[in-house]
Amino acid sequence: MGRLIRVITSRLVQGFVVALAVASLTFVVVNVTPGDLALQIAVARHDLESVTPAMVEQIRKEEGLEGPVMRRYFRWLARTLRFDLGCSLVNGRPVGEELIHRFSYTARLAGAGLLVSFLLAVPLGIASGIRPGRGVDRFSELLSSVLTALPSFVIGVFFVLVFAIKLHWLPAAGFTGIRHMVLPALTLGIGLAALSTRIVATAVADVRSRFYYRFARMKGLGGMHLILRHGIKNAAIPVLTLLGIQFAHLLDGAVVIETLFAWPGMGRFLLEGILARDIPVVQGAGLLIGFTYVAVNMAVDVLCVALSPSRNPGEAPP
């Protein structure tokens, strides 16, 4: 139990620090770069012609944008920690609503990408790990060397050139049907599989060399039962640990892939916010991405503690 609590607290602290860092960064940007946030909010709410100085002052008061720097900073932090994200400076819509909408698109893309990478990496990784150094292993090693050197936008552009432009099989961009999801999901999944194939292979090869596995073989177990019961279960811990790293690749890839395929997800929302200097959008998307990342890592930590056979000293065996 002790380990579990420690793992969860440290991730919760990390989540809090992420919120603090995003809020501080956006605050610095608002205060250092030229431009008046109150004026920008006023223009977003009404329109450029009808804004009067009185309205700007009104908004400055309402939004807590006046007073000494430190007071404004703490107000800004408090608002962020209450998830009061405000409205977009570009179209005046509430950032929170838009985020939920965008998040669902990214989740769909991520789910499909993970599925693709799972379907590729698990069979190929197991086949490589069972016979290290042989043909399949060397092939998958070469393949993942090549694929890790390909940025996701290069893979994506290649797919668009071949499948959308040359062969006309699939649409190049958009988000209306399942057909639109094939190319982005493949791009994301192949990039992820490059890494996870090797992780699975190493984990399987490691388990294979362990004593309990050799013992199970000596008992006369063989084939699928041996691999599933003694192999996969024990190989799962390193694979899970690296799932956290995988997730970082997934989020990094999402920004690039969503931009390339015009997929209306969270990553593209963040990029649009950055390019338009739409601070509330940047803040909202940054917070959500950071929290998702920390939450996934927390889940991975908890699963690892739960799967790990080693216990704390002094704790009764189950």
Partner: protein, 276 residues
Amino acid sequence: MSRSRSILSRNIRLSTGLTLISVVVALSASGPLLEHRALDQNLDQRLKAPSVQMPFGTDALGRNILARLASGGVNSLVLSSLCVTASLIIGVLLGLTSGWLTGSLLDKSLLRLVDIAMAFPGLLLALLLAGLLGGGPAVVAVALIFTGWTDYFRLARSLTVVGRTAPYVEAGRLSGFSGFFLLRRYILPKVLPHLSVLATLGMGKTILYISSLGFLGIGLAPPKPEWGAMIAESLPYMRQAPHAIIAPAGAIFLTILGFYLTGQALARNAGRQGAA
């Protein structure tokens, strides 16, 4: 048998990697000579397919793609070497100090700082920093160093924590040698082979980040050529002129592959030395 085979495959990796890096460096070395051609627009020559005069054809503004590749290569290579060197120096100095003073306040605060830098996926962090602070080479460099130093820090720290309790280090400490001397004489040589691996792989990763940032429209400002930005600029013309995309995509791929293969070969070498 299997051993000689693994050495062979390591040498193939190393030689392929080094060849690719040399080709890219040689191409980029001609970049400064081709600088004006990389920016010269010629609207009669838009989106021309590769020919003898223009080995990689021209882009949407009739600019010579080969010259742009070379010129973009200089920018990417110089910027990423700077970032890797700076991250390495910062990471190693802090890592050695932190590992030597394990458990101290400094060590604890540095570990917290690493936690913060790693609480966000690398490219997104660089995107957020570089994008909000306004782009340009200096800002991109700061963002990449901030995301990059943690790897070197963690490696140097963990090797120092292990190394400081070794008998010969203890003996040195009892003989009255300073911590600085012991770190430099006994710990640093253990860290260096691993660092060369990490730095080579780091070059590949940094080039990947720079080109991704360029592709997303953040980074080195146009019209200065950048490989990722060249792809983004040519996307609307991918039907008429796929070569304008394939050329920079190939350059990115081969450069990163070169660094990764070299790094992997060095990693096996370091692993073998460590095992021996």
